[in-house]
């Protein structure tokens, strides 16, 4: 386990909402390991807790969020127990983040170049001039044309793709060990998406950093990830390397996700959809959390919560009756 850059163990995160005493559990006992130099995908629908997992580890939860238990080991230190001052030295320096919406994630009233050089001055201890020179270099590196001129531009003067390049430049400025990318291409056009993913790949090859790619887009996962965690309703339901996952996924939810990808199908065939929606965090089913939406659910699935089990070669799955086995939940008949 020495070669993992970040290990999250049994993370539980809850949220308070106005006027309610009970807290909603958004992340419920998540374990994730990110090997050095590799790209790990964290996949799931909106609201499954994938973003919350990364924000918890970075200490960036909104005010109403709180980590209940768990640890996040980065270079032998638990990020969740570090005092804020120490954690700040890691943030933006050794672990950086890029976010989904590059329009709102960049400060609208500060020129983009200044926003890039900010981290350089803070962590790199550079003076204004050096930081500016370095920032322009970085902007050029991430493919911002006319970087010298763009340095003084405000975010709204750039296109979405350029803004995301700036975000990446900002995050890569200090050559972090780990880059957490939270839906980095969701708001972009498909052609721009490919460019951005290619850029991330190149940068990763050069610096040897690890990437945690948070996305709901399996296409992105197939493109860039080495291994994948699939999350559903605050829990990891499946974990495998990317080939195993696409070749023989075991969890019905993952299968549903893959089946609902549009592809070259004969005319007239319907696109697969998973019925229903993610259950309310305050009213989770007692058994398997996916049971209400699962086509294969049987009595046992409703009553007994499945555990995350190794189904061979380190392929983990949280299901009583993984796809590919012909069991339908053991004893009970559905």
């Amino acid at each position: 386990m020495q070669d993992n850059i970040l290990e999250i163990h049994n993370l539980v995160t809850s949220f308070a909402s106005d006027g309610r005493k009970d807290r909603a559990i958004a992340v419920n006992g998540v374990d994730i390991a990110i090997p050095k130099g590799s790209t790990v995908g964290l996949v799931g629908e909106s609201g499954c807790g994938k973003s919350v997992t990364s924000l918890s580890a970075m200490g960036l939860l909104p005010d109403n969020g709180r980590v209940e238990s768990g640890e996040a080991i980065f270079c032998g230190r638990d990020l969740l127990k570090l005092p804020d001052r120490e954690l700040r030295k890691i943030r933006g320096n050794r672990i950086s983040m890029i976010f989904q919406e590059p329009m709102t994630s960049l400060n609208p009233v500060i020129p983009v170049g200044k926003q890039v050089s900010e981290a350089l001055r803070l962590h790199g201890g550079m003076d204004k001039e050096t930081a500016k020179r370095k920032s322009i270099e970085i902007l050029e590196r991430v493919g911002v044309p006319e970087a010298r001129r763009r340095y003084d531009n405000y975010p709204h003067q750039l296109s979405g793709g350029l803004r995301q390049r700036v975000m990446i430049g900002m995050a890569m400025a200090l050559k972090p060990d780990l880059l957490i990318a939270d839906e980095p291409t969701t708001a972009l056009d498909v052609s721009i998406e490919a460019q951005i993913l290619r850029l991330m790949r190149t940068l990763q090859r050069e610096s040897g950093m690890s990437i945690l790619m948070i996305t709901h887009n399996l296409g992105v996962v197939a493109e860039i990830c080495d291994e994948v965690y699939v999350m559903y309703a605050g829990e990891v339901v499946e974990h495998a390397d990317v080939y195993a996952l696409f070749r023989d996924c075991a969890h019905p939810y993952t299968r549903g996700l893959i089946a609902s990808l549009p592809r070259m199908t004969p005319k007239g065939q319907r696109l697969y959809t998973i019925r229903g929606t993610v259950p309310n965090l305050r009213a989770m089913p007692a058994g398997c959390r996916f049971a209400p939406r699962c086509e294969r659910a049987c009595k046992r699935c409703w009553e007994e919560k499945p555990l995350l089990q190794d189904i061979g070669n380190g392929h983990l799955c949280r299901c009583h009756a993984p796809v590919g086995t012909n069991g339908n939940g053991g004893e009970g008949n559905g």
């Binding site: 005010d63 943030r91 919406e101 994630s105 009233v109 900010e118 803070l122 709204h156 003067q157």
Partner: protein, 303 residues
């Protein structure tokens, strides 16, 4: 930019004409003939007739309005019935007092309001937050004239409580007038800052490892204070309203006192002049605030 300002100035012209029309109409349909007000009842019929003619009182309303606008443009707002002096001159003498008071009160309200608002937002839901927000609502709810009276009677003998002969005379009026504005600014600063703090770019700033203080001062404050500028424009209006009361309690010979005396003496030209003058001030204030806004906010600057 220049285009924006030109357009903005042009829009105010009909409003300005509307203001003068409204006031002129209201004050010129008022029952009670000005000549009788001026001369009491001791005048002979022909003298009154003569006076009416020289004052153009028998002309059609619209003609009188246009004449007034034309005169006003040249800086002539008529002659006070009671004081028999040029209204423009009276306002020119009184305005410095009002200006000094309003500026002092505005500064007071910013110096008090903005830091309190920031602290409340940073220490959201703390005792200090609840206390200062409660206090500011308390401040907004206190009648200006009442606070004025209470301070006047409390500080009798310690500070000057009437007149405007020295800078000490302005201390109490400034506090009275600035107090409720300070409350409003504190509340607005707090709610703006809290709103801004929820933005994605604040999370980005934090993800860079900036300290909370830096996040607020570098990334949040500018965004949060831009809308506060709009309030400065609204503030001019409420400061001038408040100045009417404050000046009359503390016997400061400003424009507000002039207006109150005009009403009490039924001095129509003076009232008309002071009201139109203050309205123009407010419009100019709004204009300046809008332009300032567009200078500060880069999103508008480009358009």
């Amino acid at each position: 930019m220049g285009k924006y300002i030109t357009k903005r100035v042009l829009v105010t012209i009909p409003v300005l004409l509307g203001i003068i029309l409204l006031i002129f109409y209201m004050l010129n349909v008022v029952p009670g003939d000005p000549v009788t007000v001026m001369m009491k009842e001791h005048l002979k019929e022909d003298v009154i007739e003569n006076l009416r003619r020289t004052m153009h009182l028998d002309d059609p309303f619209f003609l009188r309005y246009l004449r007034y606008v034309w005169d006003a443009l040249r800086g002539d707002l008529g002659v006070s019935w009671k004081l028999n002096r040029s209204v423009t001159a009276l306002i020119a003498t009184a305005f410095p007092y009002t200006l000094r008071l309003a500026v002092a009160a505005a500064l007071f309200s910013w110096i008090m309001g903005i830091p309190v608002g920031i602290l409340s937002a940073v220490k959201k839901n703390s005792l200090m937050d609840h206390l200062s927000m409660g206090l500011s609502l308390f401040g907004v709810s206190m009648p200006v004239f009442w606070v004025a009276l209470i301070l006047q009677n409390t500080f009798k003998g310690v500070l000057p409580v009437s007149g405007a002969n020295s800078w000490q005379c302005y201390i109490l009026p400034t506090v009275v007038l600035g107090w409720s504005s300070a409350g409003r600014i504190a509340r607005l600063t707090r709610s703006n800052l809290l709103e801004v703090m929820r933005n994605d770019y604040i999370r980005t700033a934090r993800s860079k490892g900036l300290s909370p203080l830096r996040v607020i001062s570098r990334h949040a404050l500018k965004n949060a204070l831009i809308p506060v500028i709009t309030v400065m424009a609204i503030q001019i209006s409420s400061l001038l309203s408040g100045a009417v009361i404050t000046e009359s309690v503390f016997a400061i010979p400003g424009v507000g006192s002039l207006a109150v005396s005009a009403i009490n003496n039924r001095d129509m030209p003076l009232l008309q002049g002071t009201v139109i003058f203050t309205a123009v001030l407010i419009i100019a204030g709004n204009l300046v605030a809008d332009v300032l806004y567009s200078v500060i906010d880069p999103r508008i600057r480009v358009e």
